[in-house]
């Protein structure tokens, strides 16, 4: 039987493919691939690194218009994180204030409500706190710090917040005494965070740095709350009483959390 060239070619091609397919059933095909991989690996590494750096460059160029949006989102994230951070700091401060209050065992002495200052009006000697009628606050309740320093009393109550007039308000006055001395007087607000000690008889000797506390006769305030310390004393011959300037203990500039005494 004589084969034509065309049939020879077809048979050769068929056998060739049959051989190739058969190779896959033996480990030899794996050896061929392994050989090419091991030879090509260094070149592939170089190409891979080059491709990576070139594509990164072009990716950056193409995505440059998205940078503005990314920047905006990142700024938004920063603001959110700052807000979270601020909340955590507030909680930490509240926690510390509560610890201070518990350290002084105020909770045994008074029924307290923790409040936060949400606004300050130094010109009118008043502050706003974050709790009101819904938290059972009412007019006239006394406001103190965690260190038993008298701050003022609630003058207006709203649903969710209240206004506190500070001791230094001209509308405020209270019976006080000098600590460890049998000296009584009247502390009255002079405005602009100033406080005066009045109605102290001339014969009574008061000194600078003397500590002023609330008097036991005062019905509006619990006894023994810290008010301030004597700063300067003014004695006038024509007046029957001496007047002293009190430096209040409360520092409205740095205080953020306070306590309202619900009953005493």
């Amino acid at each position: 039987m004589k084969l034509t060239p065309k049939i020879k070619i077809i048979i050769t091609v068929f056998l060739f493919f049959l051989a190739l397919i058969t190779l896959n059933f033996f480990p030899f095909s794996k050896k061929i691939k392994t050989f090419f991989y091991s030879v090509s690996q260094p070149i592939q590494c170089v190409f891979n690194e080059a491709g990576d750096s070139v594509s990164s460059f072009w990716e950056m160029i193409f995505k440059i218009q998205l940078l503005g949006e990314d920047n905006r989102l990142l700024r938004l994230n920063i603001l959110n994180l700052l807000a979270d951070n601020s909340k955590l700091k507030d909680l930490e401060k509240e926690n510390q204030d509560l610890r201070d209050a518990l350290g002084l065992e105020m909770e045994k002495e008074f029924d307290l409500t923790l409040v936060k200052i949400i606004g300050k009006d130094i010109g009118q000697d008043s502050i706003m706190i974050n709790k009101g009628l819904e938290d059972n606050l009412s007019n006239g309740l006394v406001v103190i710090t965690g260190q038993k320093v008298l701050v003022g009393k609630i003058s207006e109550v709203y649903d969710h917040f209240s206004r506190v007039i500070l001791l230094s308000s001209k509308d405020n006055s209270l019976d006080v005494q000098i600590q460890n001395k049998d000296i009584d007087g009247l502390a009255r607000g002079d405005g602009s965070l100033n406080l005066l000690l009045d109605l102290v008889p001339k014969e009574k000797e008061i000194n600078e740095k003397d500590v002023v506390i609330t008097h036991y006769l005062s019905k509006k305030y619990p006894q023994g709350l810290l008010v301030g310390q004597i700063k300067t004393i003014k004695k006038q011959d024509a007046e029957p009483f001496q007047i002293a300037e009190i430096e209040p203990f409360f520092d409205i500039g740095t205080t953020e959390t306070l306590f309202v005494i619900n009953n005493f």
């Binding site: 091609v13 397919i21 095909s29 691939k33 090419f36 592939q44 590494c45 891979n48 491709g51």
Partner: protein, 102 residues
């Protein structure tokens, strides 16, 4: 002989580039097969009466199989089949004298 050597080196390098360099330049997760495009171009540029494209198809298929997960011979079979088919069509039905270089 030089042409055969050229085809071997060309498709070897092209396979390496496609699997390591151009893989970073995918367009919408799609990378065109440079080996296939090159083989089709070779077929179109070759004179219909010459058969270098069959050898280049073998090289293209072989290296395609080597650097992919498919079984050895699959790529070769596909490339040679495609080349023979294209050459038949070009020989019988198409005449593009201006791009015949090989």
């Amino acid at each position: 002989m030089k042409k055969y050597l050229f085809f071997i080196l060309f498709f070897y390098l092209l396979s390496l580039l496609e699997t390591s360099f151009f893989i970073h330049f995918r367009i919408f997760s799609f990378l065109p097969s440079l080996i296939l495009i090159s083989q089709v171009l070779i077929v179109f540029l070759e004179h219909p009466n010459k058969n270098y494209a069959v050898f280049s198809a073998f090289c293209a298929g072989f290296f395609w199989d080597i650097f992919s997960n498919q079984k050895l011979g699959t790529g070769i079979l596909l490339m040679i089949s495609l080349t023979v088919l294209l050459k038949l069509i070009l020989k019988k039905y198409v005449r593009i004298p201006s791009i015949r270089k090989f």
